[in-house]
């Protein structure tokens, strides 16, 4: 269970203006802007839920994910993940979660995928029998048998993403964070990834938290949607709550962004 209350986080960003004169000026004096990345966030996610976390760029999605996975310490507020405070005891916490960053790779570029998997097994200290079972299951579900012997650099993006997801699940995490997992994928790979995530959620009961800009991802995967904008939770409900009219989901969302002025 994930419980988040009154979470706040503020960043300081240096202002930079265009032009030669300003560049010279900035040599001596710099001004800063305060950005409220998270402003009194609260939500609660039960075990086994699949939640879509959406919002425009810069709304605070990745800050939330970073806090939940223990990378970032908030300014104030509380956050409990299965009774743990993520940033207090990071190492025990991260051993029990899985994180997929859609835009970055965790596989070693020049060696076969299976070598990366074995290294990850050692990093997470997964017992050999569990590892074998997980690997077998994941290979079946994600259709990896052909890919395991291939070096990462020769994989297509879709193939690589399947391997990335498998890599994040080798240690059997109870909670899975997915940060734009389908970005840049072709239709077939997208469907395969979605189907797999759904299956993990239904059969293993893995809690899934997903950020994405692809509304079809949300439609396919999430029973519940949390909309965030300018660091605040704007809406927390089902997809139908957002859709109301029955128009196209992208248009609805765009209208919603405009309505909240985010």
């Amino acid at each position: 269970m994930i419980q988040v209350e009154h979470l706040r986080k503020t960043f300081r960003v240096a202002k930079r203006s265009a032009g030669f004169g300003n560049a010279v000026k900035a040599l001596f004096h710099r001004e800063y802007d305060e950005i409220h990345a998270l402003d009194d966030i609260f939500f609660r996610i039960e075990d086994g839920e699949a939640v879509g976390y959406i919002g425009p760029n810069g709304a605070g999605k990745s800050s939330t994910i970073k806090i939940l996975s223990g990378i970032l310490t908030p300014d104030s507020g509380t956050c409990l993940v299965d009774g743990r405070i993520p940033w207090k005891d990071r190492k025990t916490h991260v051993a029990k979660i899985g994180v997929v960053f859609g835009q970055r790779s965790q596989l070693w570029w020049d060696v076969p995928v299976i070598d990366s998997f074995e290294l990850i097994r050692d990093i997470y200290a997964v017992p050999e029998s569990d590892y074998k079972r997980n690997l077998r299951d994941l290979t079946d579900l994600l259709d990896l048998s052909e890919l395991l012997k291939t070096p990462t650099r020769s994989l297509s993006l879709g193939q690589r993403m399947r391997c990335e997801i498998a890599a994040s699940l080798l240690h059997d995490p109870r909670i899975l964070f997915l940060d734009e997992p389908t970005i840049g994928l072709d239709a077939v790979s997208k469907l395969a990834v979605r189907e797999f995530i759904l299956d993990m959620n239904r059969t293993r009961g893995t809690t899934v938290i997903l950020t994405t800009h692809d509304m079809q991802d949300i439609e396919a995967l999430a029973q519940r949607v949390i909309l965030i904008g300018k660091g605040r939770i704007l809406l927390d409900g089902t997809l139908d709550d957002i859709r109301r009219g029955g128009e196209q989901i992208d248009e609805t969302l765009a209208a919603l962004y405009r309505q909240f002025d985010i």
Binding site: F11, A95, W108, I123
Partner: protein, 258 residues
């Protein structure tokens, strides 16, 4: 430790994918060392001694420093690209894994290309050790091993410090080069060459002279008591403040996220 060897083997496999490039880089690394050796050679062809040190003695010193630096580079070069690891978010990935961060950063890059330089260091060092007229005995050999060990530790500490700075400033790391590359480039000559002030700085601020100048004097039989044998071990304590600084950096990173 087992995990580190795992990283080691994965890097070896990667390297073997690009043999030509690897060999060329090894060669170029060798070149870099050859030029700095030639610098010393030319200077001594003209002057024969400096501050009472002969050519052979300086070569010996240079070999030891080179060897420790290369060893440290092989192990800790991951820290060198640390600024980009923070920039591209790779450090986030490291933080979501339940292992020690330092070990994982080390594991991101193990630099095999440094064998070229290391070879050069060994050659210089063997040549000088044979011709330098050093009365080799057990305490001297032990001192030598301690010197290399201590030197490697100090350089590793400096690399760690360098990475620690990345948490505070994403630019402006160049000044750390004075201590890493600078210690290695200028450490070719025994530190007393640079005068008393530099020697003091390298004793009390960064304990570089504890692995270079003082034990060197003992090995060369130029004074310096038996206690000099153990000075390099004392110098290894330098790693502690470096580590604390790194911890502070990690804490800062997790509170600002950048």
């Amino acid at each position: 430790m087992k995990l580190y060897f795992k990283y080691f083997s994965i890097h070896l496999k990667s390297v073997m994918q690009y043999k030509v490039s690897f060999l060329l880089t090894v060669f170029s690394q060798l070149m870099l060392t050859v030029t700095s050796f030639l610098g010393i050679h030319f200077m001594f062809a003209r002057f024969h001694t400096v501050e009472g040190f002969t050519y052979n003695e300086v070569l010996f010193c240079c070999g030891v420093v080179l060897l420790s630096f290369c060893l440290a580079e092989c192990i800790a070069r991951g820290f060198d690209t640390f600024a980009s690891m923070i920039g591209n978010g790779e450090f986030d990935r490291i933080l979501v894994r339940p292992r020690n961060e330092i070990l994982q950063v080390l594991g991101t890059r193990i630099e095999f290309t440094r064998v070229g330089r290391m070879l050069m260091g060994i050659v210089m060092f063997v040549y000088a050790a044979n011709r330098g007229g050093i009365p080799w005995d057990v305490p001297r050999v032990i001192t030598l091993l301690f010197m290399i060990l201590g030197g490697t530790t100090i350089f590793c500490g400096l690399f760690l410090l360098y990475a620690g700075f990345c948490f505070f400033t994403l630019e402006g790391l160049e000044f750390m080069n004075i201590f890493t590359d600078g210690m290695y480039q200028h450490g070719r000559y025994p530190l007393s060459v640079y005068g008393k002030r530099v020697l003091q700085f390298c004793t009390y601020i960064i304990p570089f002279s504890l692995v270079q100048y003082y034990p060197l004097m003992y090995v060369l039989g130029k004074g310096g008591g038996t206690y000099c044998i153990f000075l390099p071990l004392l110098a290894m304590l330098f790693l502690i403040p470096c580590w604390i600084f790194w911890r502070v950096g990690v804490r800062k990173y997790t509170s600002t996220g950048s």
